[in-house]
């Protein structure tokens, strides 16, 4: 009853005309910075923060939060249209999203992404509204052994991401794992694989690798195949620009899966939305009856990670608002904004600043509707982008890629790396190596290594501690099942047949 009362109060705040305007403005700015590279949501919020200090705190936080979740909506656009992920959480959306676009279903893909984002984003907030305190306790109970098991579970999904050859998938995964070790080791300050270059001390940046092996490699492959014409067929007619009934029906489980997976993993301060989207994709494929469709434009293969990415927002706000623990870069800056207004996030926030807490929660319901209304009409417009001939589109993609890489740290070294990873991705495509496992290894490798080392320090070297905790044991068993099944030959007869027939 308290919750309903609080939420009602919150809607009273969020539906004040000026707050609707702030919400709209935040969502709009978020969508823009999500689509364009070079200015992420964290930097945008940092720049706008001083301007909001003179505003009413509720209006200010409503706008800044709008930038945060609006950017996640926008992030999938370039993944789908250009195979260019703008941030780590939209990599997985490239896999099936771009394939849908290649088949002339770009509009449908953008529509599915928007709908899935809306559903999962809203479910994430409903869960935030209803179960935040209980879930916060769950987040705190998650220790290093659980994180290790979660990362191992995530890595086991390589089996489902590998395509025709598991061996090649595993090799790509290992290269990604190795790349994640580059830089200063947090535990010992030892520099690893830096080749004497100070630029490598901080490790490689995810955006550089992903844009290289996805977008640049894709351009090179397309240029190799044929130099003329348009990139992708865009069928005429309005109906072809929206998801079909079949596509929506195929995605219905993905909406649920993405919502739950994204929220649960989003709650954990040490995980992040990239992991959530990979795991949602893996679960989706694991339970699917048509696994062979994945990687070839399965709408549910787009809906699941895109949903997880957006449900993650609601999850990430749980530890922030109820414990004062930020989960990542963007929530950290929301925390400092709240502190500048004199609001201290923590267990007392709900009772001491109900206007802000419930106003923010209610505004996110509003914001998700705003984003859907903002994004759905843009779908046909964005889909038309693919009508641009390749000789104009490709220079534009290169330009976006350069800006995305350069703005990571403002140095040309990252653009040089971008070129190197573009070549790597091209060679991998030529030689039949899948690129998704490389990204998977890179995203999870660092966290997996850290969690194991932390666990063993906590247990003084006792490895059995990993198996004595129920959550960690469950996840490790799950990983083992996923890894072992295909080797027995159950999970994917299709692949076995493909191998025996010879490539």
């Amino acid at each position: 009853m308290d919750i309903l009362y609080g939420l009602g109060h919150g809607f009273g705040v969020a539906l004040q005309p000026q707050n609707i305007v702030w919400c709209f403005l935040g969502c709009f700015l978020g969508t823009v910075v999500g689509i364009l590279p070079g200015l992420g949501p964290a930097a945008t919020i940092a720049i706008l923060m001083p301007l909001t200090l003179n505003m009413d705190p509720a209006g200010g936080i409503i706008m800044l939060a709008g930038i945060y979740y609006g950017a996640k909506y926008g992030g999938s656009t370039t993944s789908i249209l250009l195979n260019m992920p703008g941030e780590s959480s939209s990599v997985v959306s490239c896999i099936d999203g771009y394939q849908m676009a290649l088949k002339g279903r770009a509009g449908a893909a953008l529509g599915i992404a928007a709908i899935s984002s809306f559903i999962a984003g809203t479910v994430g907030i409903v869960l935030l509204t209803l179960v935040a305190p209980a879930v916060a306790r769950f987040a705190l109970s998650f220790s290093s052994p659980e994180y290790f098991a979660l990362m191992v579970f995530g890595l086991s999904l390589v089996v489902l991401l590998s395509g025709a050859s598991l061996l090649k998938g595993l090799l790509a995964l290992l290269v990604g794992l190795w790349l994640s070790t580059v830089g200063i080791d947090l535990f010992t300050a030892q520099s690893r694989f830096t080749f004497g270059r100070p630029e490598l001390l901080g490790g490689l940046d995810f955006v550089v690798i992903a844009i290289g092996v996805f977008a640049i490699a894709e351009i090179m492959t397309t240029i190799q195949n044929r130099a003329e014409g348009r990139l992708i067929p865009v069928p005429k007619g309005f109906r072809n620009l929206l998801p079909s009934w079949e596509e929506l029906k195929a995605s219905r489980f993905a909406f649920v899966n993405g919502s739950i997976t994204g929220f649960v993993i989003g709650v954990l301060p040490g995980a992040g939305s990239a992991i959530a989207s990979f795991i949602a994709y893996g679960i989706e494929k694991a339970v699917s009856k048509r696994k062979e469709m994945f990687g070839h434009g399965a709408p549910e293969g787009l809906a699941a990670p895109e949903g997880a990415n957006n449900a993650d927002t609601g999850g990430a706000l749980v530890p922030l608002l109820t414990l004062g623990i930020p989960g990542g870069g963007t929530t950290a800056i929301l925390l400092s904004a709240l502190i500048l207004w004199g609001v201290r996030p923590g267990p007392l926030m709900i009772t001491e600043s109900p206007d802000i807490f419930w106003g923010l929660v209610a505004s996110m319901y509003v914001g998700n509707v705003v984003l859907l209304l903002l994004n759905l009409p843009l779908v046909p417009a964005f889909a038309q982008l693919l009508r641009v001939p390749k000789w104009v589109l490709f220079p534009v993609i290169f330009g976006l890629a350069i800006i995305g890489a350069y703005s990571v740290s403002g140095r040309i070294f990252d653009v040089e790396l971008l070129a190197a990873f573009g070549l790597l991705g091209f060679l991998m495509a030529k030689l039949g190596f899948p690129s998704a496992p490389l990204i998977l290894g890179f995203v999870l490798g660092d966290a997996m290594e850290r969690a194991l080392r932390q666990s063993l320090m906590m247990s003084q070297g006792d490895i059995t501690s990993l198996f004595q905790r129920p959550i960690s044991l469950t996840l490790l068993i799950g990983a083992a099942i996923i890894l072992i099944l295909p080797m027995v030959g159950f999970i994917n007869r299709f692949r076995v047949r493909a191998i025996s027939e010879g490539a």
């Binding site: 001083p50 220790s143 535990f187 930020p326």
Partner: protein, 327 residues
């Protein structure tokens, strides 16, 4: 590679010198000023830089716009390299902290120690608080140390890099008392805090601003203050000395550094600008709200401090078993 790295600074100095005649005796900046920060938006240093800028702007102390340039990566090394690359120019400053001193000590690749640049001013010192979870059995730091002696290596502390003050302080206390506990690194502040509040580690060093809310809500207990004197916001918490420990009080510093070879007029100008900003009421409010200590120093004092502190930290890190590649 070798050649270009030799030439680049020389070239930068030459370009810088060529640009100087415009600014003779009286330096006034004519281009937007940039403040490099070694961490992303929302980090402590980023917030600090933006707070300083807003105070400077509120008091009309700068004729030009000031913007933050986030240069994350490799601890401080990316930002330090960026500031060093602006040798001889007068439109770039950087925010430095302890890791600008410790990174070059242990990483051969970090080739821009603070002493090779122009340290301009210390701005604040941050006291630390040693905290345990609210239901922890350790009521005092002495309780914790006794327990850590009884079972060496069983207890643990969450923190960031092994180079950070929290670990340096742990080393000092372990050497002083003979106790032994683990230092477990987590990359983000959120994870460190979650590990303590979840009961997965036993101890943590937090900033006063961060601790205040957790203590008030009953999630955390503070058992000692890492500062010269008791903190006004935590008057009941004993300092390390009062807790019976004879360890030097290692300050966590935030200051402003200028590129190598910045013209003396510009150095004097910026030093004066920072002094005026730190004397303003808004800045003093910011400092006390966050539980910091004001620490303004002149460029000469800053350089002397940096030289001395570098020696001290190098000695401690070496004693802790880290390899010092250069001093």
């Amino acid at each position: 590679m070798k050649l270009s790295s030799l030439f680049a600074p020389a070239l930068a100095v030459a370009v810088g010198l060529a640009a100087i005649p415009a600014a003779q005796a009286q330096f006034v900046p004519n281009r937007p000023l940039e403040i490099a920060v070694h961490a992303g938006p929302g980090s402590g240093n980023d917030v600090f830089a933006r707070a300083l800028i807003s105070v400077i702007e509120a008091n009309n102390l700068s004729p030009v716009r000031i913007q933050v340039a986030n240069k994350p990566g490799g601890g401080s090394t990316t930002a330090a390299a960026y500031v060093a690359s602006k040798a001889g120019t007068s439109n770039t400053l950087g925010v430095f902290t302890n890791i600008w001193i410790t990174d070059p000590l242990v990483s051969a690749e970090a080739t821009n120690p603070l002493s090779s640049m122009t340290p301009l001013a210390l701005v604040i010192r941050e006291p630390g608080l040693i905290a345990v979870k609210a239901d922890s059995p350790y009521q005092t730091l002495g309780d914790f140390i006794e327990a850590a002696k009884a079972e060496p290596g069983k207890l643990s502390q969450s923190g960031g890099s092994v180079l950070a003050r929290e670990n340096v302080l742990r080393q000092l206390i372990m050497m002083e008392t003979g106790a032994d506990w683990q230092f477990i690194s987590f990359p983000s502040g959120g994870e460190r805090l979650a590990a303590l509040l979840g009961g997965h580690v036993d101890l943590m060093i937090v900033e006063p601003g961060e601790a205040a809310e957790q203590v008030r809500s009953g999630a955390m207990r503070v058992i000692a203050a890492v500062s010269e004197e008791r903190l006004p916001t935590f008057p009941d918490v004993p300092t390390l000395t009062e807790a019976g420990l004879n360890v030097p009080n290692l300050p966590q510093i935030r200051g402003i550094v200028a590129p190598p070879g910045m013209p003396a007029e510009a150095v004097a100008y910026y030093s004066d600008m920072i002094r005026q900003a730190t004397e303003s009421q808004q800045w003093q409010d910011y400092v006390s709200e966050n539980g910091f200590e004001a620490a303004f120093t002149t460029p000469e004092e800053t350089s002397a401090f940096v030289a001395e502190y570098t020696e001290q930290l190098a000695g401690i890190l070496e004693a802790a078993g880290l390899e010092i590649v250069k001093r």
